[in-house]
Point group: C2
Chain length 294, copies 2
């Protein structure tokens, strides 16, 4: 088997050729996120990026991310939790049987409402594979952060927080934007931690966010420190509602973001390990491995 691992998101397309032992041989990327692809145009875009890889005999191409959404190539309906590799494999949407498949997202139900992820499930399984774990909490910070609870190799449940999006909304469109600088600049760690700690009061973000304005009004926080403080308030709110004491969490995401979450979690005495994009290729490789088993 030669695995062609593809991560096809809303605004980007990445692919990797992965050896049987999991080694990533080559990576390629393009700006052709699904929003740029016209209906029926997905095969051609994939061919453009890695047609040479696809032509190799015996290749298997697994595509994760928004390409499997209703707005993507074809819809690969969400696989309900609890879900491990077996359930994910059973819900693959085969485009070309045995050769190209879309990986489904996951869904779960809590408090009478559904929750969903698409693309992150592969990163979760990749992280578990890299860490050689079958249990734990995996956190994927981002525009829509995911807190994922895994037991015995299967995702039991998860929870989405619109943390990155709330930050952007407050940063760009709210009254708070009036006193914030044009650019975020480097992270101001003390201001960030102050935000995380203030969020812990439990008064809720609707209230705590207003302190960005009042601290500015009274000249008690410089403009340059305010983006970091606001980031601390928003991430701190996520932690307050999601984090539980325990054996620590695994963070999967960009360096800049996982470092910020690790810092925030350390104020709650929660240990972290951080993983980057390697988790995606590893997850697709591990999934491909289960398909070969008899």
């Amino acid at each position: 088997m030669r695995l062609i691992a593809v991560d096809w998101g809303t605004s980007s397309l990445r692919a990797a050729r992965v050896d049987d032992d999991g080694t990533v041989r080559e990576e390629r990327a393009s700006q052709r996120g699904i929003l740029t692809v016209p209906e029926g145009g997905f095969p051609a875009v994939l061919q453009d990026l890695c047609g040479d890889w696809l032509a190799a005999p015996g290749s298997l191409c697994l595509v994760s991310g928004m390409a499997g959404s209703r707005q993507g190539w074809q819809e690969a309906p969400y696989c309900p939790c609890p879900a491990g590799f077996t359930e994910l494999a059973r819900h693959l949407r085969w485009i070309a049987p045995g050769r190209v498949a879309l990986v489904p997202g996951l869904s779960c139900e809590a408090g009478g409402v559904p929750d969903v992820m698409r693309g992150e499930e592969v990163q979760v399984f990749g992280a578990l594979s890299l860490l050689q774990q079958r249990d734990g909490i995996v956190v994927l910070p981002g525009t829509h952060s995911k807190w994922v609870r895994v037991r015995d190799g299967a995702v039991q449940s998860f929870s989405t927080c619109m943390t990155g999006e709330f930050y952007a909304l407050l940063r760009q469109h709210s009254i708070l934007a009036r006193t914030l600088p044009d650019e975020d600049g480097a992270l101001d760690e003390p201001a960030f931690v102050r935000g995380v700690l203030h969020a812990r009061s439990g008064a809720g973000l609707l209230h705590t966010a207003f302190s960005v304005r009042t601290l500015a009004l009274f000249g008690r926080m410089e403009s340059a420190a305010q983006p970091s403080y606001l980031s601390g308030l928003v991430i701190g709110e996520e932690l307050r509602t999601q984090a539980v004491a325990g054996p620590g969490v695994s963070l999967v995401g960009s360096d800049a973001l996982t470092r910020r979450y690790a810092l925030a979690l350390s104020t709650l005495d929660i240990a972290t390990r951080s993983l980057g994009s390697a988790a995606t290729w590893r997850g697709l490789w591990a999934l491909a491995g289960t398909l070969e088993e008899p």
Copy 2:
């Protein structure tokens, strides 16, 4: 004394002529909120609206709202809590001694950060006067809702929630906007109450807001019901973090908004009384009354 009560906000200017017994004789309004007034232009704009009233001998003009902010006519620095009429009167910013004054806003400190209001303090005192109360919780829903705790006729502390602003941000600029209808339409009470109850889970708005999207994805909530559900989630979050069991709260605001809050509070078995704009004129009248005392 002839009181000319003026409520001069960011985007509107309202004035009333109030008799000694508190009866409002005449009201006038214009679009000349402080954002439309150039520096130094405030006296002329006020003269335009009610120069005839101001010319009457013995008249007293009290101006509340953003006209007393740094961006307004002159800055009337915030009066720190606890604050009753005595403190407010002491912090009046006299433009023309004995004739025209700006009412200061209030400030308080909680959890190491300041909170502020400007204009609402007059409504709070007006509500207490109308209800003949000296103690209680007064809630002023809006873009920035205020929860005000009053004891023995003085504001002890208060808390701001950016509820209306968060709703507008999510409604207009977030991913949720994609499945919401163009117009809010009439309140869908069951959808609103469902949102209030879901907020009670305590998972926090960062998480619960995402349910607007997932319920739409799974076809479990019609587009027309989503604005009411989102409103319930946001107001429910405010109530969850602010409301305390007790003798009920007084709501001051527009009919549409106080009705929505009364409905949300009723799901928590908290009784409410609602007051409209009369509270502003009553508050300025009651403040004027204390100035006359020897």
